[in-house]
């Protein structure tokens, strides 16, 4: 009797038939586009044609297979279990299996006790991810391999989840990095994700087997895995069918004729048990009225052939698309274009300009401006007159349609931007954090997955009778929600409408974080390509319960605003002629991209240099001005308290020797603040202290394999790299302080550490190979010096009196360190005020001083012309306050106090750094915001993680400064 196995993966379905002796006689592999029941029928029919309608034993497996198993009433085998069964049968000496599928990633350790690691709910480094990235690059998945082979440089791409990686890749594309290099970088990111996220410290060794689609189709992916785990894995024959074969081998298989299975599927009806929402439109009529209302918000269009004279060009180089608008003197829209940038925005504008010059010689570009992610690149490439931050561009555009607009929401392909306007000034900005991205392009990806164009997919939503409730959380999770809905019998129409509603809910409740839509105001302009989808627009109006304005050129608003801006500026500056390159210059324009390592300092930034002919070039990827101006950023540090702190901390890394041998201190988490204390303490006790350096990417990757929880905050993850450094340096002993309590500054109800800072040492103890180096987890607190001395004397076997002396010295050192910081803080404040520099209080925790954690945001702010001070330098300047939360963590109490101080200072603004995954910040962000809001001050929050996408941060900071400037002008 033949043994039949079916594997329903997240994107593909496989069927196999095995003979009694386990030889494979039939196999089939197809994408199912989520039409699981239909596809199942089709593939079983194909199987039946091939092997005949015999009685077979049949089992089913796969992450999306439970529904089908239920429908056809065949036994379900968990897919990992199936893989293992197949491996045991076909490759019995397998030690480790790495299997990547459409949406899941797994590592199976078969030896020494079966251990299975599957990606959690928050990981996307899988087939779907590679697919998505390929789409982003405008290439097919099959090109990925060929391109990767030609790469020379690997960029760092966040590997934690697909959405993060996207926001890393986007700037690379916009900066003109080579597609070959990006392709390789994506594959390496997948490898890192799998190893860091799944292996979690367990070494991948022995005979490694690669399974699943991506690893089968992309040899380069296997190559990078081989590199990373330093072994040569094999990709067996039939590597796509292991799950299917494993389920065929299952002893619990049911004896059935194939035709019986097909029959069961034919009579299966979905249970329609998904949660239904109200339809978007009750009837045709409602939709017609809705359309008519929105058609009113339009711009007069003029045929460019009939126009001659001055025109104004706006370019919005967005993350995935590039938009252009050309306006006549009277504001008529002459030309516009909305196109994907296919990873090469320069090319897109090049073709736009040449056709403009070619076809409409009578039009003279009088002024031009660029905005968006690629504004610098555009300005440099085509020698444009102006550039402006995109938030301003959108505001200018929106004002044109509603002069008293009080809220603008823009949902584009990759990002959501919202800003509140108060008194004609952008007053509050919400950008989607790396984790809630996935907007327009998400709908697109979904439409494609279901075999529809984005437009058709949107149309389906209009007639949906009962949209599926898909929730409002991060869209990465949506894939499985959609699958579930399909399993429950939802139609494509209902899903399309459900997705549109979820995009809206995501924006409202996740990005803007409103609970009461009235908070947004009544005068709302919506824009961005995603709102051209009527379903999204309708869902938005329904959710808010009011009518909004959607300009017909919703997708072009950035470019439109930029064009208007160029006109305003031309007038203001009395610009005679635009500096934009001429037709001749355009024809001979060359564009070269080069990557080099800057050797200006120890950061060794990877620079991307775009050069356009011999005269113009754009350098990006730099953290300071040195590669651009050739000069060291001499004056910058003077206004940067973070830099000063780093300098101070660095001085404690000096080795002083000691008769008791070396003692390693990881410069991470709690030690950041207490480094002066512990270094002094241990030096006093006679240890030769070795302190790990500031974090770097390399340091992080070096330790990432032993991180057990992929959702813990980045500062905690870095601890592993620091410990690895100490291990590599073969110190005699490692010390990590553990303490429930922090310093008691008498400012709150209690003085706890956060749980991660308090006990992360336990994770190191349990998960990292220290190569025999003893680890001391010091459960110590600095609240009671006497008790501390007692504990130190016990832990380090010294006399109590000696310990007390060392403790006292350490306290002195800590006090002097803290004093230096507050003094430097007031010095910076004084000097900045003398020079009228705005002051930014970059409020975080002491470990946000680390350059790898803060990604150089402090320096970027200084480059933008402001000064940066820390929360702990001003927190002592306030008395004890009362708050709307339980104020029980020392580090966080300082942020509340800093906020209370800042709100009284006209020239200071607070920017809060929030670590992704920092649970406490869910409490503190709202409170800090409330504190500032009470006095009508702007609150800015920057979420940081592994990602190094400074571009988005820069937009936020520039918008803040633009808002401050406008406030200033109003004041005068």
């Amino acid at each position: 009797m033949l043994k039949v196995g079916i594997d329903v993966g997240s994107t593909t379905m496989k069927t196999v038939a095995l003979r009694e002796d386990n030889t494979l006689v039939y196999s089939d592999y197809q994408r199912h586009r989520s039409q699981i029941i239909e596809k199942g029928r089709e593939m079983l029919n194909a199987l039946m044609e091939n092997i005949g309608d015999e009685e077979v034993t049949i089992s089913l497996s796969g992450s999306a297979g439970m529904g089908l198993a239920e429908a056809a009433d065949i036994p379900f085998v968990q897919e990992v279990y199936a893989t293992r069964t197949a491996a045991k049968t076909f490759i019995p000496d397998t030690d480790t299996i790495i299997e990547l599928g459409g949406e899941d990633a797994k590592i199976l350790f078969l030896k020494h006790g079966l251990e299975v690691r599957m990606n959690g709910t928050c990981a996307g480094g899988t087939g779907a991810f590679i697919d998505q990235m390929a789409t982003l690059l405008g290439i097919g998945m099959e090109d990925m391999n060929a391109l990767s082979e030609k790469s020379t440089e690997i960029y760092t791409i966040a590997s934690r989840c697909g959405v993060f990686a996207k926001s890393d890749i986007q700037p690379l594309i916009n900066q003109g990095a080579k597609t070959e290099d990006i392709a390789s970088s994506i594959l390496v990111a997948v490898v890192n994700q799998t190893i860091a996220g799944l292996a979690q410290g367990r070494k991948i060794e022995g005979k490694v087997v690669y399974l699943g689609g991506p690893l089968t189709f992309i040899p380069r992916l296997r190559y990078f895995f081989d590199e990373a785990i330093k072994t040569k894995g094999i990709c067996p024959e039939n590597s796509l069918y292991f799950v299917a074969m494993g389920s065929a081998l299952s002893p619990s298989g049911k004896k059935m004729r194939i035709s019986e299975v097909i029959k069961a599927l034919e009579s299966y009806r979905g249970k329609s048990s998904f949660i239904k929402l109200d339809p978007l439109f009750r009837n045709e009529e409602e939709y017609r009225v809705f359309r008519e209302r929105h058609e009113k918000a339009s711009v007069p269009i003029r045929d460019p052939r009939t126009y001659s004279g001055r025109a104004y060009l706006g370019i919005d180089a967005g993350s995935t698309t590039i938009k252009t608008c050309l306006l006549a003197e009277n504001g008529d829209l002459l030309l516009s274009r909305y196109s994907p940038n296919n990873g090469n925005p320069v090319q897109a504008i090049h073709s736009f300009l040449s056709s403009l010059y070619e076809e409409f010689p009578a039009i003279q570009i009088a002024s031009s401006a660029s905005t968006g992610y690629g504004e610098d690149l555009m300005k440099a490439a085509f020698s444009l007159d102006y550039s402006l931050v995109e938030t301003e561009a959108h505001f200018i555009g929106a004002k044109h349609f509603m002069s008293d607009v009080d809220f603008i929401i823009d949902i584009g392909g990759q990002d959501i931007k919202c800003f509140r306007i108060r008194d004609g000034v952008i007053d509050d900005i919400f950008l989607n954090e790396a984790c809630s991205s996935g907007c327009g392009s998400f709908l697109q990806t979904f439409a494609n997955a279901l075999g529809k164009s984005a437009e058709d997919f949107a149309k389906l939503a209009i007639t949906a009778e009962s949209p599926v409730d898909l929730g409002s959380r991060c869209t990465v999770f949506m894939n499985s929600s959609v699958k579930q809905a399909q399993k429950d019998g939802a139609s494509v129409n209902d899903i399309s409408a459900g997705l549109a509603i979820s995009v809206v809910k995501n924006a409202l409740y996740k990005v803007i974080r409103t609970s009461n839509p009235e908070e947004l105001g009544r005068r709302i302009v919506v824009q961005g390509g995603t709102f051209l989808n009527d379903a999204v627009l309708r869902a938005f109006e329904k959710e808010l319960g009011l009518e909004v304005v959607r300009p017909q050129i919703a997708g072009l608003m950035g470019a439109y605003g930029a064009a208007l801006y160029s006109q305003i500026m031309a007038k203001r500056n009395d610009l005679r002629e635009s500096s934009i390159i001429t037709k001749e210059e355009l024809d001979s324009l060359t564009h070269n991209v080069k990557n080099i390592r800057c050797n200006g300092c120890t950061n060794h930034c990877l620079l991307t240099i775009n050069s356009f002919g011999s005269k113009r070039k754009l350098i990006s990827g730099n953290r300071c001005e040195r590669p651009v101006t050739g000069k060291a950023p001499a004056s910058a540090d003077k206004f940067d308290l973070y830099a000063y702190k780093q300098e101070l901390l660095e001085s404690y890394r000096e080795r002083k020797g000691g008769e008791k041998g070396t003692l390693g201190l990881p410069l991470a988490l709690g030690i950041y603040e207490l480094l002066p204390f512990y270094v002094t303490l241990f030096q006093q006790l006679g240890y030769d202290t070795v302190v790990s350096p500031f974090s770097s990417r390399e340091l992080y990757i070096h330790g990432q394999a032993s991180i057990p929880s992929d959702t813990v905050c980045f500062p905690a993850k870095l601890m592993h790299g620091h410990i690895q450094y100490l291990v590599d340096n073969k110190v005699d002993r490692i010390f990590i302080p553990c303490s429930s309590y922090n310093i008691n500054e008498d400012k709150g109800n209690n003085h706890f550490n956060c749980p991660v800072v308090a006990y992360y040492g336990e994770v190191i103890k349990g998960n990292q190979d220290l190569e025999g180096i003893p680890l001391t987890l010091g459960y110590l607190s600095l609240e009671h010096p006497d008790h501390l001395a007692k504990r130190v004397s016990e832990l380090f076997d010294v006399k109590k009196r000696e310990a007390r002396k060392a403790v006292d010295k350490a306290f002195e050192e800590l006090a002097s360190y803290r004093k230096k910081i507050t003094e430097k803080g007031s010095e910076i404040i004084k000097e900045s005020r003398a020079e009228h520099r705005p002051i930014i209080v970059l409020a975080g925790r002491p470990y946000h001083t680390d350059p790898e954690i803060n990604h150089g945001i402090d320096r970027m702010i200084v480059q933008l012309g402001a000064s940066v001070i820390t929360e702990d330098s001003i927190a002592p300047l306030t008395d004890k306050g009362s708050f709307g939360v339980l104020n029980q963590w020392t580090y966080h109490a300082r942020m509340y106090d800093a906020a209370r101080y800042v709100r009284e200072q006209k020239d200071m603004n607070l920017v809060q750094l929030v670590s992704f995954g920092c649970g406490l910040d869910a409490v503190t962000t709202d409170e800090v915001k409330d504190i500032l809001r009470e006095k009508d001050r702007i609150y800015t929050q920057i979420k940081i993680d592994e990602i190094t996408n400074l571009g988005a941060v820069k937009i936020r900071m520039r918008s803040l400064f633009a808002a401050l400037e406008m406030e200033d002008n109003d004041g005068k």
Binding site: S63, A64, M66, V77, Q78, V80, Y81, H112, E115, M118, T121, G201, R202, I275, D469, G471, S472, R473, F477, M478, S480, S481, Y509, K510, R513, S515, P708, T711, V712, A716, C738, S740, Y741, N750, N753, P755, V756, Y759, E762, V763, K765, G766, Y779, S781, E783, H784, H787, L788, G884, V885, L886, Q888, W889, C918, G919, L920, A922, V923, T925, D926
Partner: protein, 419 residues
Amino acid sequence: MENKVFTEEMKKDGWTIVVPNMSPVHFDIMKRIFINHGFKALLLENSSPSVIQEGLKYVHNDMCYPCLLVIGQMIDAIHRGLVDKDRCALIISQTGGGCRASNYYFLLIKALERAGLGNIPVISANLQGMNTNPGFKITFPMLVQAFTALVYGDLIMLLSNQTRPYEINKGDTDRMIAKWTDILGDCYEKNRGYFWGNMKKKLNQISDDFASIPVKRTPKVKVGVVGEIYMKYSRLGNSNLQGLLEDEDCEVMLPPMMGFVLYCFSNGIKDEEYYGGRGRYAFIMKHFGMPILSIVEKWSDEAVRRHKEFHPAATFKELEEFGERFIDRGCKMGEGWLLTAEMVELIEKGYDNIVCTQPFGCLPNHICGKGMIRPLKEAYPDSNIVPIDYDPSATKVNQENRIKLMLAVAKEKLEIETD
């Protein structure tokens, strides 16, 4: 922020106190105590998806999942009219520890304000005297009753879980739970018959009663559940994990709540040892609190041991020892070292298939849950631990799939063992 207080008049007027439901067995008993002390109480059972929606709407989305659920459930109940919004108060626990749970009270107030329900009083249930309300005072008799209810609840939960999968007549076990919930409720009403001598007797009777249920004991996959306390016990939190496992023909073990209480009390002793400055509290706990609690714990233990088919839970002493093998007992925020200790307990007591319920955003679990799985696996290679993430958008399919894998391995082990 001005919070409206729950006054004595409100109590007299019969305002309803809305109580989140953490563990059905325990809280059904606790509810009786509430009523007996003159409060009208509503134990929340609403669990439709709108609970999560309300939570997402009014609570910061990065907050821990239990917080989102509890607050979402309360606001959902009000919006659905399950309780009169002008004549109700909400109660929420406040532990005062270093994790975010101590802030639930404030977050609930903030959420109510945002929902336009700022006039509803919020009562903080804590033993430290934080945020007092004149109409709601935890009196000594109430405290004693609540404590005994916890002990009874633990025993009933333990025995019922070890009986239900094997019962011959479906429903016997649940009827027995209802019977004892009534008996105990009556005792609390009369305020007698539930403590000291009577307690020991009652515990034994409970054990005998459950042992009298006709059963057929066949080898079954035994699964232990650990994790953040709300997620571990609450059906709303873990999407009825116990039901899912029992449907898969497993016996489920939930470590008793008493462990958590003892853990909380004992932490002060460790604090004094490590950090100093808490001498008085530590002295009282060490020499009076813990010993008294241990006596009660012993009664419970002995009650279970009367019947050899029942497996007692680990005593707190044992737990301390189990925990220390892997993690320092100074690790005391959230479930802290207790979570690790319970995993060791389960493995040592034959429940080596473990679901570790990890709610989204739970910080201590990074350390005591996920962070300890590797060393546990090294020490016990045969243990079969699966951490399950729970968050507002985690789909059941995904969670079930992982649980199914754990079960597939467990069943295989069981087959080898019973062969």
